[in-house]
Each structure stands twice: as structure tokens, then as C-alpha cells.
Amino acid sequence: MSGLTSNLAPARAPMVLAIMALAFVLLALSGVAFGSTWIPLDQVTRVILGAGEKTQNLIVLQLRLPRVVIAALAGGGMAAAGFLLQKITRNSLASPGVLGVIDGAALGVVIFLALLSNESNSLVTSIAYQPVAATLGALAAISLVFILSGRQASSAIRLLLFGIAIAAVAKAVTIVMMLIGPIYRTSQAARWIAGAVNEINWSEIQVTALAMLPLLLLALIAARKLPPADLDEVSARGVGLDLPAFRVLVFALAAALTSVSVAFVGGVGFIGLMAPHLARLLVGRNVYAGLVGSFLLGAIMLVAADLIVRVAFAPIEVPAGTVTAVIGAPYFLFLLMGRQRHDG
């Protein structure tokens, strides 16, 4: 890992970021162009600029563009959260999943589906409240992690262990509820848990964007304090950074980013692990470049995953999260094995 980064001068980071941004735009356009009917790229551009014809307007603006946009936001948000966590824990295997946030959100969704269904298996309320339930579940899980860890919350490893424990409990309860629940709930919950970006409308995107923007700004502000956070606690405090307090703040920020990201699309796995890791390999140690690069790569990954499920499995809607898991799990194993060699 250090071998690759050391060959990249920091001056190359802006170039790498520009290439990522370009790749993202091309991928997003293809994401809109591909589908049950192919819409050529020039016509996609025309629709986006407001000069398209009626059917194409409908397909592009109401069906395809929303899922591309939400995929970009959710993938980017999770990757940014993963970047913050990997930096603050000084551990490249940390990811938003280990905070208990995603499993807490999943439990929120399952409880929502269970409590608000009637005897004929249909929801007594609008499915639009499902993200609210996810967010509440996420908040409950991370609050529990912080409350239980108490004074130990400033220790990265302790907090991660509490997160893993809470995640395991949430996962167990989720499975029990899915097993004893009716079919509708089970398949709906399974969709959320796998992570899918279809059935998204613009107002949901608006909510996600409005919640995520301030969090991303906070992340950029917090990034200034990330370099001294690379040091041990005593040395960090020696140069004026109260590391324990800062760590709690970054954990909370990452948890918030994750819950906003997963609220609508569900628990897309491994992007929060892979994207920041790759970003650091590509752009080097600069924290701002790392944060922006993580967001771009996360966006690219989820948009690409959604494109793959649409092209490969049409007309069945397979959750995009299955693709990220299929690619992400081996990547995680690869990282683990590489690490074992380092540790000896």
C-alpha cells in the first residue's frame, strides 16, 4: 500500500480527482441512457438541458435520473463516512457497517413494516415513512453504542467493539422479525437490507440532499483536524488537538452521514470500505483530496452497480447492493490477507 502511494506525488491528486469526476459524469449519463429502451447520449443531454420530447422526458427525468442521483448521493455519502472512520480509527478495515448504524436502520425498517401492517399484509400507512423509520433505527443504534460505551467512547477500538455488538443484536432481532412476519414484510425488508435505488422520486432526493449537504460541509471542516489525528493520543494533544473529543465528534458525523445515505436506498454493503481505501491509494495522504475522492468513487461504485443490475437482470429489479457485496466481500478478504502478511 505504501509502495503505491509513495510513487504518487501529491501534485497528482487534482488530476486524479478530475479524472474521477469525468468518469462519474460519463457513467451517470450512461446510467440514464441504458434501460429497457436505449436513449442515445445526445438525447439524454438534450432532455437534461430541457429540450427533450415527452416520452423521453418521462423516462429520463422521472424514471432513470432519480435513481442515478440517489445512487450517487448514497454511494458518495457512505464512502465519505467510511473515509472519516478509516482515518480516525487509523484502520483501513473500518467501515460504516461496524458502527451499528446500518443494522439499526434495518431493524427500524422491519419494525416499521411489522407494526404498521394490518391482517391482510398491507401497510396501514404510506411506505414513504419507511426512511423515517430507518433513520430512527440508525439513531437509536448509534445512541445505544455511545451510551453503552460511556467514557470508553473516546477509544476507537472500544467504540468499534460496542458498534459490532449492537449491530449483531440488531441483525438478530431483524432476522427473527422477518422469519415470523408475513411475506410482504419479508420481501420489502429484504429489499431494503440488500440496498436498492429504484422507486425513488425527486422529493426523496431533495430530502437526502438537504440532509447530506451540511454533513458533507462539516466533514470538510473536520478534515482540517484529521492530520494530527493520525498521531497517538498524547502527541495529538501535544500539538493542541483534543483527540478523544474529536474522535467522538467524527464518529457521530460518520454515523449521521451513513444514516442519511441508507435511509432511502437501504444497506448497500462494502462501498464505505472499498471507496475510501481505493481513494487513498489513488490520491495519496492529503485529507481533502481523500475525502472528495472517496465521495466520487463511492458515487461511481453505486451508480455502476445499479447500471449492472439493470442491464444484467432486466426486467427483474435486483437490488444494486448485491453487486457491491459480490465485489466488496472478496475485496475485503483480499485486504485482510494482505494485512496478515504485513503483520507477520
Binding site: 505504501s2 502511494t5 494530527p228 493520525d230 502527541s235 493542541g240
Partner: protein
């Protein structure tokens, strides 16, 4: 170094500190003279590292205070304190893929803010620190590729770049071989002489302490057992009282400093 900074001097007043129910420092008072090297020494568990950390406000005292000039350090914010007192931790750590320059730059962190990004002053301080510690040629090297001695120099460079009037070092030669111990402490003395920094050192080795200290402070059971010049403190009686060791103290024929030859512990039954 600014002129106003020359007024600073640390005084520890009636400082008490406890870890939970265990009392570590008991109403301890100590002046730290400006521009001098003060070495804290004493047997294991005497509280010397705790005292150093309390001076740098890493521990909250249960009583008393530490004053920097006339200011109680508990009233300073983290950045202001970090601009006045630097600290080299006992076992500092940083990622292996961090470069030397990156690490030394972190010494400038307390001088920067959102409104005050990296400036020419910071760059000049960075260059001074790297030149002063002789690590300039290592600038682009990764920390993981350095030897133990080089790494310790780089950490000292980071603390130097902070440009604080007071520098605290917690057992800086612990893991170094004899050559690097001397090298490291010579460097500290040179920084004290050339940059006029007030230095507070925790050292385990009595003879190294006697060789480099202007003022020597012996701690025992959380209190000051003795303080003074090395010549005043390095007596057979004092060493026996503080360390429970019978010794012979001679004058180092090369440096003229007192040199302790330990004979046996006072509880020992084996004849010397």
C-alpha cells in the same frame, strides 16, 4: 522566539493528582527555571511522568495548579497551550507511510486555524526545525523506512517546529542504544543552548540525568524528595534515601559531573 515569551516560567503550586482513588502527586510545588534543563528522576512509580504530563495538562489535577508565567494553564485553550508548551510523548506513534516532512509540519498545527492556513512563518519554522535537528535530508522519506535514532530526531523536530518556549520530553532515550541516547540528549542540550528553550526532561538513567541537567529533581511517592544542581543532589546519602540503593559517587573525570556507581540495593542480602 518573541520577547514577551521570555518572561515565561512554569511554577507548579501545591499540585495534587489522583488516578481514581490512588493518589499519585501530593501537594507538590516546584519552580521550573526558564532557559534551563530540568530533569525529573526517581524510582519507578514515583510520579515523574505524571508530573510532566500534568505540566502539559494531560491530566487534570485534583488540587493546586500549574502556572505558566502568571497564567493558570487550566484557563488556556488547547491551541494556546500547545503554542507555549511542546511535548514529546514517551512512545509516540504515527503511520508508517507518513513522510518526515508531514510529521514535522504537524508541529505547526497549533499555529494554524481555519482563518490562518499554512503561512510563510510556518514554512520557515519547519525549515528551522528540520535544519536544527539535522533531518533535512530525510524530508521525503517515509517514517517506516527510518531507523530508531532517525525517528527520534524527527519527533524532536516536530516538537521543535512547534516553537514553544517550554519543551517537555518524557523519557526520550528509552528505546535507544548508547550512541543514540547521547546523540538525542546532545541534540536536546544544543536546542536549549541555541534556541533558549526551557526543557523539562524525564530520565531514568541517573548518570545521564546528572550529565545533562542544570537542575535535578528527585521524586519519591508523589512528592519532591530533593531538588538542586546535580552536584548538590548526587550524594551517596541522597541516592540511598530516594532510590534505596547504596552507591559510590565519584566525579566523572571527563565531564566533571558527578557519577554514581551503584553498589547494591539496601534490601539486598548479597554482599557487595
Amino acid at each position: 522566539m518573541t520577547d514577551s515569551a521570555m518572561d515565561h516560567r512554569i511554577s507548579v503550586d501545591n499540585l495534587s493528582l489522583a488516578y481514581g482513588a490512588v493518589s499519585v502527586l501530593n501537594a507538590l510545588s516546584l519552580p521550573i527555571l526558564k532557559g534551563k534543563i530540568t530533569v525529573l528522576a526517581g524510582p519507578n512509580g514515583c510520579g515523574k511522568s505524571t508530573l510532566l504530563r500534568a505540566i502539559r495538562r494531560l491530566h487534570r489535577p485534583s488540587g493546586g495548579q500549574v502556572r505558566l508565567g502568571d497564567v493558570d494553564i487550566s484557563t488556556l485553550n488547547d491551541r494556546m497551550l500547545a503554542r507555549q508548551i511542546g511535548l514529546l510523548a514517551q512512545s509516540p506513534s504515527a503511520p508508517d507511510d507518513m513522510t518526515v516532512e508531514e510529521l514535522v509540519r504537524l508541529g505547526r498545527y497549533p499555529h494554524q486555524s481555519m482563518m490562518q492556513p499554512w503561512s510563510a512563518d510556518d514554512a520557515a519554522a519547519l525549515d528551522r526545525a528540520m535544519a536544527g535537528t539535522g533531518v533535512d535530508h530525510l524530508r521525503k522519506r517515509r517514517l517506516g523506512s527510518l531507523s530508531g535514532g532517525q525517528l527520534q530526531r524527527v519527533w524532536i523536530a516536530m516538537v521543535l517546529a512547534q516553537e514553544t518556549d517550554v519543551v517537555c520530553l518524557d523519557e526520550p532515550v528509552n528505546h535507544l542504544d548508547m550512541a543514540h541516547q547521547l546523540d538525542c540528549l546532545d541534540l536536546v542540550r544544543q536546542l536549549n543552548a541555541d534556541f533558549g528553550r526551557t526543557v523539562v526532561l524525564v530520565l531514568h538513567d541517573l548518570n545521564l540525568a546528572a550529565r545533562y541537567a542544570d537542575r535535578l529533581v528527585f521524586l519519591r511517592d508523589g512528592a519532591i524528595a530533593a531538588s538542586g544542581t546535580p552536584e548538590e543532589l548526587m550524594t551517596e546519602a541522597t541516592i540511598a534515601r530516594v532510590f534505596d540503593v547504596q552507591s559510590m559517587v565519584i566525579t566523572d573525570p571527563v565531564h566533571g559531573r558527578p557519577l554514581c556507581i551503584p553498589l547494591r540495593t539496601q534490601s539486598s542480602t548479597i554482599p557487595a
